[in-house]
């Protein structure tokens, strides 16, 4: 990776909102953008700590999200609660396997992959790793883009619960697992948001500077 100067190394701050480059007031490290009044920092406030907090919260919620039922279907046969994994198994049929795979990916693999990816980014950033910067940044982007799609599952369940209300025959109600699942999605998104990707190459730049 080609090394470059960072704004921080020059004591400059980049506004995240309008992109204006500015210098903090003397003796200060933080300020507000003179153009758009956005808060300016060299790096996001306690990014690692916040990200860790959100990530741990998401990881904790991930357990009940998968163990508790997400949807209670009440039919003439009686109430039936299904967890996400049970739903995957239920959908798995010669014709329904693509749907089953989508649920498997969107609801189980992506959240877990996100948590693992963020954990990896955090650990590597904390340890000041200089390897695979390229890939780590790419990983961060993928996590950021893909993250919101996990919410699809929550929306689908919410829609189903709202639409399938054929009272005597069948009704669907969200079960506690769904709230945990939504919490996982929201917390991972917050974690991604609070992670400052510049930390990925800060260590590389600083090392290079030291080298130079």
């Amino acid at each position: 990776m080609s090394t470059a100067l960072t704004a921080m190394q020059h004591g400059l701050q980049n506004c995240e909102a309008c992109g204006l480059l500015s210098r903090p007031a003397p003796g200060e490290v933080e300020g507000h953008c003179p153009r758009c009044n956005e808060e300016l920092t060299f790096r996001k406030h306690s990014s690692l700590q916040r990200t860790w907090a959100f990530l741990i919260g998401a990881a904790i919620c991930y357990v009940p999200a998968n163990l508790l039922p997400v949807l209670t279907t009440t039919t003439a046969a009686g109430p039936e609660s299904d967890t996400i994994l049970q739903g995957v198994v239920l959908l798995w049929s010669p014709t329904g396997w693509p749907l089953s795979l989508i649920v498997l990916f969107a609801s189980i693999m992506i959240p877990s992959a996100k948590i693992l990816a963020l954990a990896y980014l955090l650990v590597s950033a904390q340890r000041g790793s200089v390897n695979n910067n390229d890939q780590r940044v790419r990983l961060y982007r993928v996590v950021e883009i893909i993250g919101r799609w996990s919410m699809v599952d929550v929306f689908v369940d919410a829609f189903t619960a709202a639409l399938v209300q054929l009272q005597p025959l069948m009704s669907v109600a969200p079960a506690p697992g769904l709230f945990f699942f939504a919490a996982v999605v929201v917390l991972t998104m917050l974690a991604v948001e609070s992670f400052d990707p510049r930390l990925i190459w800060d260590s590389a730049s600083s090392r290079e500077v030291e080298h130079a």
């Binding site: 080609s2 470059a4 100067l5 190394q9 020059h10 400059l12 701050q13 480059l21 500015s22 210098r23 903090p24 007031a25 003397p26 200060e28 933080e30 300020g31 507000h32 953008c33 003179p34 300016l40 406030h45 306690s46 700590q49 916040r50 907090a53 959100f54 741990i56 919260g57 998401a58 904790i60 919620c61 357990v63 009940p64 508790l68 039919t75 003439a76 046969a77 009686g78 506690p176 945990f180 919490a183 917390l187 917050l190 609070s194």
Partner: protein, 529 residues
């Protein structure tokens, strides 16, 4: 890439605001809260779990681990969590996670069984399981002893829980249309069900266990009769058509009825598991027991078609007994075919009173004399048609004074009583005689003679006409003679006048002679005129 040594253009300085920095981010509340909620959920889950029980099933048909529910009176109290085969592959071992606070239900005599759709005549049950799949039903026992290992029942119990009532055992050689759940009727009121049935050890009869619910069980006394009231009991006998049913339900699916004869003494209610006999029908159930049965045989030399075993034997309309057997025999000498009918007479059982019996003597001692006397007076057995509709026959004893005298053959076993041909047979015989005589009439000859006679008659008539014509001529002549102006008439008138005058003279003479009889001798004397 910009060089760090290059002079930068004018860069404005950022404004200063109050700074606030905390060492520990507030965001840490998020994982803490998540952890607290997670732990709380886990704790409530673990604490909320009820006891685990093991249930052994004969078959796992319809059982699904994690899906199949355990219900008690329709309330879900648990879920089957694992289903696996026993080590000998003969049974299915399951574990069930019961709902919290169900410990008090899991008692020594608590029963489990699989509810599947069952259509067993009397009741259609478990229809809901067609959609929902089978579930395990639980019936809470009465015991005080807790238990965790259960063996499920193969069939649902008929009587669940603490339904008050009593079990009785009925012995029957044939199950008929009975099944578990078949209703029991008392005066057409459904009062119980067949709980179970089992072939007894000998294999000759079945023990049907019935449950009679309270308060009707008190009507079952040791002398109560149970009978099979299955369907419609239609019997066409010599007594006519009789239809016996209990209810529409029993018509469709069968049933058992019981009743205590009003003539029987009132007894206290029967104990649990009292054994009764299950009769085939009501009549059989209430048949009086044999008191003094006597077997006789009557040999009929006519068709016994329509004579069934059990047909009544009557003496002038009073039932005396019934037909026990209808046999057939051939005489090797005469090749005569006849039907010996064995009859059981038990007059006393059928309510015939014996009166005027000298005290201390048994009726049996005078029986032979009685029978001999009756036969001597012309009592004979006869087959009669009891019902024109069915043609069913019965054996009737009646007086036939014209019957040839005979005696009872006491040497045979059973003793043979004399018989006369049946009514129909007698009528038939005389009819045949008439027809035979009619057949003997020489119709052809009569016809021929008749034709000849007619020809003869024709001729006669022709000559008769001639005769008549001449007759008319004669009459005409006669007419002419007696016409008022005819000569004959005038002469006749004159003659008659003459005769009249003559008669007058004779009368004068007679008068004179009466007055003067002497004139006959002296002649007419001159009277002094």
């Amino acid at each position: 890439m910009p060089d760090s040594d290059r002079p930068l253009p004018h860069v404005p300085e950022s404004r200063m605001l109050s700074k606030r920095r905390t060492r520990l981010s507030v965001v840490w509340i998020v994982p803490i809260v998540a952890a607290i909620i997670g732990v709380w959920v886990a704790v409530t889950r673990i604490l909320g779990e009820g006891p685990q029980v093991k249930i052994v099933f004969a078959s796992a048909d319809g059982l699904e681990a994690g899906k199949t529910k355990i219900q008690c009176n329709g309330v879900e109290v648990g879920t089957i969590t694992t289903v696996r085969l026993s080590d000998d592959h003969k049974k299915v071992l399951t574990t069930a996670q019961m709902a919290p606070k169900t410990e008090s239900f899991l008692l020594d005599d608590t029963r489990f069984w699989v509810v599947r759709p069952r259509i067993s005549g009397a009741n259609v049950s478990g229809l809901g399981t067609l959609i929902s799949g089978a579930y395990v039903a639980m019936d809470i026992g009465q015991s005080h002893q807790a238990k965790r290992d259960f063996v499920a029942l193969d069939t649902p119990p008929v009587v669940t829980g603490d339904v008050p009532g009593r079990f009785f055992t009925l012995k029957t050689p044939d199950l008929g249309s009975l099944d578990t759940g078949t209703p029991i009727f008392y005066r057409r009121l459904q009062v119980g069900q067949v709980a179970s049935y089992v072939l007894d050890k000998s294999g000759l009869s079945l023990d049907v266990k019935v449950f009679v619910t309270a308060p009707y069980h008190q009507y079952v006394t040791p002398n109560t009769r149970f009978w099979n009231a299955s369907g419609i009991d239609v019997s066409l006998t010599a007594n006519g058509l009789s239809v016996q049913t209990q209810s529409v339900l029993s018509v469709l699916i069968g049933g058992i009825a019981f009743e205590t004869a009003t003539s029987d003494p009132l007894l206290p209610a029967a104990d649990e598991n009292t054994v009764f006999t299950l009769f085939d029908n009501r009549a059989e159930a209430f048949k009086q027991p044999a008191r003094n049965p006597q077997t006789y045989q009557v040999v009929f030399k006519q068709s016994v078609r329509g004579l069934a075993v059990g047909a009544p034997v009557e003496f002038r309309g009073i039932s005396l007994g019934e037909v026990a057997e209808v046999n057939a025999q051939i005489d090797a000498q005469t090749f005569e075919f006849s039907a010996p009918v064995i009859i059981n007479l038990d007059a006393q059982r059928l309510g015939v009173q014996v009166r005027g019996l000298a005290p201390g003597t048994d009726f049996n001692t005078i029986r032979k004399q009685l029978v001999d006397a009756l036969i001597a007076h012309g009592v004979r057995a006869q087959l009669r048609t009891g019902s024109l509709l069915t043609g069913a026959l019965y054996v009737a004893f009646d007086f036939f004074p014209d019957a040839p005298p005979t005696t009872v053959d006491w040497s045979q076993t059973p003793p043979q009583l004399p018989a006369v041909p049946g009514q129909l047979e007698a009528v038939e015989a005389s009819a045949v005689g008439i027809i035979k005589k009619l057949n003997e009439v020489p119709y052809k000859q009569i016809g021929d003679d008749l034709r000849n006679a007619i020809v003869e008659l024709d001729r006669t008539l022709v000559s008769a006409r001639g005769t008549l014509d001449s007759g008319r001529g004669t009459l005409d002549n006669a007419n002419k003679l007696i016409e008022p102006n005819s000569v004959l008439g005038a002469e006749l008138g004159n003659t008659l006048q003459e005769v009249s005058q003559a008669a007058r003279s004779v009368r004068v003479l007679a008068d004179y002679l009466e007055r003067h009889p002497e004139a006959l001798i002296r002649g007419k004397t001159g009277e002094a005129r």
